[in-house]
Structures are given as C-alpha cells and as structure tokens.
C-alpha cells in the first residue's frame, strides 16, 4: 500500500464532494425552464468534476487494495459536512462532529 495513493483516493473523494455541493447550490436556485435546471454551468461543472473523479479513483487503485477504497470513500461525510458548513453555512450538530471524529478514527484503524 502506498500512502501517496491513499491521498490520491482521498483527493478523488474530496472533488466528488465539491461536485455534490455544486449540485446542491444549483438545486437551491430558481431557473426559468426545466432544461435550465440541468443545463447550467454549475450542473455541467459538477458532472465534469464527477467524471474526472472516476479517473482519479482508478489511478489511486494502482497503489491501494480494493478493500481500502470504500473505507476512504467515507471521508466524503467529512468533506460534505465541512463544505456545507463553510460554503452553505449549514450547521453541524455536536452529534455529527462526534460521528465525523469516529469515522476518521475508524479509517486510521483500518489503515494500521
């Protein structure tokens, strides 16, 4: 297992989380037509990022076992919460913070 590939995988999860936030900000906006709801810069960029993330994931798998992928995927909960907090100004409950710490602890244990 290579640490750099672990970070490549985490990067892929991070950019996917960014695309999710983009989709969410787009869903919150009002558009003049149904087509515009799908064909607008945010949605297109979001799916573009998502597409790139699939390649980054494959590159990451060159250096990590399959079993580690879905484990690292759970960092998505952390990224979405942090991006939601800073960009969408969503609150994070204490229970959620505790959960995020537990998730990260679990990821670290799995990598031992």
């Amino acid at each position: 297992m290579s640490i750099s590939h672990v970070f490549i995988y985490i990067f892929s999860v991070f950019i996917s989380s960014v695309s999710q936030i983009l989709l969410k900000t787009s869903a919150n906006k009002k558009y003049e037509s149904r087509i515009r709801e799908y064909l607008n810069p945010r949605v297109i960029i979001a799916y573009g990022i998502f597409f790139i993330a699939t390649f980054v994931t494959i590159i990451a798998y060159k250096g990590i076992p399959l079993s580690l992928g879905p484990i690292l995927e759970t960092t998505g909960y952390l990224w979405v919460s942090l991006l939601g907090y800073f960009i969408l100004k969503e609150k994070i409950s204490r229970r959620k913070i505790l959960g995020l710490i537990v998730v990260v602890a679990g990821i670290v244990v799995s990598c031992l």
Partner: protein, 139 residues
C-alpha cells in the same frame, strides 16, 4: 411490507454499486488507452488488449454509476434519507469481501475493527442532523 421491499431494493442497488469498485481496481491493472485522435478509427481498432479491457471496465463503471444514480433517487423518495445514507456504510463491508474474493486481500483484525468503528461513526453522522433540531429547540 412496502418498507421492507424498498429496503431490499436499496441493498440490491448498493451491492451493484460495490461492483464498480471491483471494476475500478481491475482497470487500475490495465493500461489506459491513449487519447490519440490522429489515429482515428484505425488507431482505435489497433488498441492493445490491455487498453481494450480498460475501456470495458470503464464503460462498466459509468453504466453502474448511471443506474445507481437513477435508482438511488427513486429509493430516497420512498424512505428516509437518513436510513438510506446509514445503510450506504455497507459498502465498506462489500469492499472487504470483494477484496478477498477477487484480489486475495487478507481480512485483518484492524480492518474489521476499523470497519465497525466507521459504520458506528456514519450512523452518528447521519442521525446527527435529526438531533440538531432538538438541540435548537432547547431554551
């Protein structure tokens, strides 16, 4: 009984989604085809076996993601989003199983303990949003 049915659908679609990770890992073992537009159709046909396999795996990944995205959208309409997200943690277990079956990855004690901790953490995270409302109602 409808609840049970959608719960089963959810797990079928999650199991399908877990297969995309197998394909990603398999694609990682092959050579990605070079984007050579000058080669045109003949360049495409002269592609080596490794690149061809890569393309097949990648097509499989995109197909699964497409099916998953649509099915997920339908399922979360019919069950609490919290339940759906909490159950998504099962992907961690699928990853460990597929790693063993397809790539002979050893199931180690830290991996099992880590997986259990992660699943507990995910449950706290996804239920955390519900508890927030109660906290806000406190004086």
């Amino acid at each position: 009984m409808k609840k049970v049915r959608y719960f089963i659908y959810l797990h079928i679609i999650l199991a399908l989604f877990s297969v995309s990770a197998i394909l990603s890992k398999m694609a990682a073992g092959e050579k990605a085809p070079k984007l050579d537009l000058s080669g045109g159709v003949s360049g495409f046909l002269n592609m080596d076996t490794s690149s061809f396999k890569w393309m097949m795996y990648y097509a499989g990944i995109l197909f699964i993601m497409f099916v998953y995205a649509i099915a997920w959208q339908q399922i979360i309409k019919r069950m609490p989003i919290v339940t759906a997200y909490a159950n998504k943690a099962v992907l961690v277990i699928w990853g460990i199983i597929w790693g063993l079956v397809f790539f002979g990855e050893k199931i180690t004690v830290p991996k099992i303990i880590g997986a259990v901790i992660i699943i507990a953490g995910v449950w706290l995270v996804v239920t955390g949003d519900e508890y927030r409302d109660e906290e806000e109602n406190e004086p």
